[in-house]
Subunit: 105 residues, 2 copies
């Protein structure tokens, strides 16, 4: 079956980084790549997720070294700003390449 | 912050079809789109998954109406052939469009 030989997905699933593939985290990383950095409230509204859900997924991304969370101050109010790291940018690029290889056979 | 206005992920996460986004099912659908149809053994080897895992995810895709599983015979041996439906092809195309919109901001 020649047609079947055109697809070899073995290893391609492993190449899809689970840290990034999860939907909310994919949304976060996409947002941070598009904007260069965003604060918690912006991400929450942009992605339509709860505080707790967003905080959980930001923690996973930070733990993986893909983002940094920096607290800064706007007047007297603090805000948490999320910035993609160099490692996070590289991981996102690798994820997109793996995804493209998979979905385009 | 003008840069932040360039990304609006709200609804984009919902647009990513959960039936297809799961990694093994994404692998199955990608394979079936690339090959036009594949048998159980081929999918198992191509994706590097167990019988049980593959069967579970094929059942989800069949339940969603995205694939059909047809048993046919090669000599005296039966094999299960998986074919994407028209609905499955449309859902896969919609998934890719939603994914592209998300990851490209």
């Amino acid at each position: 079956m020649a047609a079947q030989r055109t697809f070899d997905g073995h290893g391609m699933l492993d190449a899809l980084d689970d840290v990034i593939h999860q939907k909310v985290r994919l949304g976060i990383m996409s947002s941070l790549m598009a904007t260069g950095g965003a604060d918690f409230t912006f991400l929450k509204q942009a992605l339509g997720v709860s505080d707790g859900n967003l905080a959980t997924h930001l923690a996973v991304l930070e733990e993986a070294g893909y983002i940094e969370q920096r607290k800064d101050w706007v007047g007297r109010k603090s805000r948490t700003r999320c910035i993609p790291t160099e490692g996070g940018r590289a991981a996102f690029a690798a994820y997109l390449a793996a995804l493209e290889a998979l979905v385009k056979g």
